[in-house]
């Protein structure tokens, strides 16, 4: 026993590079962010100190808070659609043969293998005013003027869901695969039709996967930047866009830092909430 734990401590040294990397790329910038967020920015001059000006601005300028909640709402929509579209895929992957499983897995992951620019240009060609869909529909005279498929919330959600679906499907598939199918067969032999088996057994037992997937997709969606820029035109504003603008156009690092910390807090809150829920569910 003691020998074993000695060995474990010895192995901890192997973590050194990871820890250093973590300190350099995460903790240090985070501290910097914290310090900057309390600085003052006046007439293009940053004064370090302990001012609440930036935080007061977030809550009082009327637009930042609105965009923050818009970002939250967008992320909730994205998470919701990922779940709705991803669950059947995960279910299918669980029940099909290994070969088809690999094909499905590749399809789900493939957006991640494509460059974000290529992907968005492809969406432009498909969804744009004179894109494939609108062209075809107009040619068939089903519509007289192009449908607004892009430069709105729909376009952004569609493009983001397309990429983040994999982050939903993989945890769901993991959770579903860990359910022993004889549990479902037992329910079925006790008189439960398939939908009842799904609602009473499969769905509740896959809850950990649902929560993991939703948390992951939500966090990623809160930070999404480039896709809304391309797919939303200038009609959809998200907090990351605001942060970038503040840095690149106004050189207002302190305000950008304060907004970034707010985003981080919101995400941290989500993580705590979901792990709390998870513990509640597993204790039941």
């Amino acid at each position: 026993m003691s020998l074993n734990s000695d060995q474990n401590y010895g192995a901890l040294w192997l973590l050194t590079p990871t820890v250093l990397l973590y300190l350099a790329t995460f903790l240090f910038p985070l501290i910097l962010l914290g310090v900057l967020s309390f600085a003052k920015f006046e007439a293009s001059i940053t004064t370090l100190g302990f001012y609440f000006d930036n935080y007061i601005k977030i809550f009082s300028d009327g637009i930042t808070l609105k965009i923050f909640f818009q970002t939250v709402r967008l992320s909730i929509y994205i998470t919701f659609w990922c779940l709705i579209l991803g669950y059947p895929v995960a279910l299918l992957m669980r029940s099909c043969s290994p070969k088809i499983k690999m094909i499905l897995l590749f399809c789900v992951v493939s957006p991640l293998l494509t460059s974000i620019i290529v992907r968005n240009v492809a969406w432009l060609l498909i969804l744009g005013r004179s894109g494939m869909i609108n062209d075809t529909l107009i040619q068939w005279e089903l519509i007289s003027k192009p449908l607004p498929l892009m430069y709105n919330e729909f376009g952004v959600i569609l493009a983001v869901v397309h990429v983040y679906l994999s982050f939903m499907v993989l945890p769901l598939f993991g959770a579903l695969s860990s359910i022993n199918s004889s549990i479902e067969e037992a329910a079925s032999s006790l008189g439960a039709p398939f939908w009842r088996v799904f609602l009473s057994i499969t769905l509740p037992l896959s809850l950990p996967g649902i929560m993991a997937g939703c948390t992951l997709v939500f966090i990623l969606s809160m930070g999404v930047y480039l896709t809304p820029v391309i797919m939303g035109g200038n009609f959809i504003l998200t907090l990351p866009m605001l942060i970038t603008e503040s840095v690149r156009e106004q050189y207002d690092w302190p305000y950008a830092s304060a907004m970034a910390l707010m985003l981080l807090l919101a995400i941290g809150f989500m993580v705590v909430l979901s792990s709390g829920l998870q513990r509640l569910v597993s204790r039941r």
């Binding site: 022993n180 004889s182 067969e185 037992a186 079925s188 032999s189 006790l190 008189g191 039709p193 009842r196």
Partner: protein, 360 residues
């Protein structure tokens, strides 16, 4: 009316034949065991009865009605798995209640039935526990209660005690059989363990490579096996090839690889080659000087090995000018365990009724 009836049921997976034409029935209140080595098609057969696998051909009846195209949830079968398959997110009580809810049993009736089922498996005090808080034996009892509470036409069990330790397995065996007889519920039980099959069943169906080798009571299966496979599979036996020979006294005798035995067969065809089965527990070993005269056929043997197994002692002996045999002797307190030591010579006595000729 039979509770379950299989008529020439076949199941093929592409080129693989998992079950090759099985006929069997479970009469009302009967305990039938499917016994056979791993991979012989027991689980496939059971799952066809439960409705999870569709037979390639043949007819299947449960509770008198044809099950063709009937989905699992519409068959009245109670299923018990080796891994228990309890609903991990439901308490013991909720697990048992599930089937009753599916039958739309009213609340008050449900409560009574749950209590009855829990009493039946002696788990009343654990009603509110979660499955993860139960031992393996307790989980298996909950699974049993859950399957029984819906009053199925037939109870199906697939190696239900495989995951339990030996002592608990022996205990559950007795408990299940008592329960089954009390409720008079038709049961189809799957196992590869011959002790389980012999001790619990009304009838045993011995299976081999997707086919039925023999159907019979435990006594018939053990004492009158019909094929070499059944003989080999059930119990430990000495199987020798034998010939009928004529002795000097003009009487016929049975020569089993050099072991002279009385001719217990009705025929005296000399050319016939037969299989002779001798159960190890039927052979008596005596000190050579003892004056016992049970049979004229005196064979002596040398002790090759002695294995002490507690309740029995197992010898491996080599008959002089004959075959090697396994012999077991029960370790009754008064017999001296050191009666023989390695290399000793013993006189072996094989009573006529201990010699069994395998037909075919």
């Amino acid at each position: 009316m039979s509770s379950v009836e299989l008529k020439s049921i076949v199941k093929k997976y592409g080129a693989v034949t998992a079950v090759a034409s099985i006929d069997l029935s479970v009469e009302s209140g009967e305990f039938v065991t499917l016994l056979g080595p791993s991979g012989c098609g027991k689980t496939t057969t059971l799952r066809m009865v439960a409705g999870f696998i569709r037979p390639t051909s043949g007819q299947l009846y449960v509770g008198g009605s044809n099950m063709d195209g009937v989905p699992p949830h519409k068959r009245k079968v109670g299923l018990v798995f080796q891994n228990y398959a309890l609903f991990p997110h439901m308490s013991v009580q909720k697990n048992i209640e599930f089937g009753l809810k599916m039958q739309n049993t009213p609340f008050e009736e449900r409560k009574d039935k749950i209590i009855d089922a829990l009493d039946l498996v002696k788990l009343r005090h654990l009603e509110h526990r979660m499955p993860s808080e139960l031992s393996g034996g307790q989980q298996q009892r909950v699974a049993l209660a859950r399957a029984l509470v819906i009053r199925p036409d037939v109870l199906l069990l697939d190696e239900p005690f495989g995951a339990l330790d030996k002592q608990l397995r022996d205990h559950m065996r007795i408990e299940l059989r008592e329960l089954q007889q009390k409720l008079k519920i038709s049961t189809l039980f799957v196992t590869h363990d011959q002790d389980e099959a012999l001790s619990m069943s009304d009838r045993i169906v011995v299976m081999s490579e997707g086919q039925v080798s023999q159907i019979g009571s435990p006594v018939e299966i053990y004492e009158k096996p019909k094929t070499r496979f059944v003989t080999d599979f059930i119990g430990r036996s000495n199987i020798l090839s034998g010939k009928i020979e004529t002795e000097k006294s003009n009487k016929t005798c049975l020569n089993a690889e050099g072991l002279k035995l009385p001719n217990v067969s009705k025929t005296s065809h000399k050319s016939e080659s037969i299989l002779v089965m001798i159960r190890p527990e039927c052979v008596l070993l005596k000190k050579p000087n003892s004056k016992n005269k049970i049979t004229n056929y005196k064979n002596t043997a040398k002790i090759l090995s002695i294995i002490y197994l507690g309740s029995i002692i197992q010898y491996k002996i080599k008959v002089n000018n004959g075959p090697a045999l396994i012999v077991t002797e029960s370790n009754v307190g008064y017999s001296d365990p050191k009666k023989f030591s390695l290399g000793d010579t013993a006189e072996i006595i094989i009573p006529e009724n201990a010699i069994y000729l395998i037909p075919g």
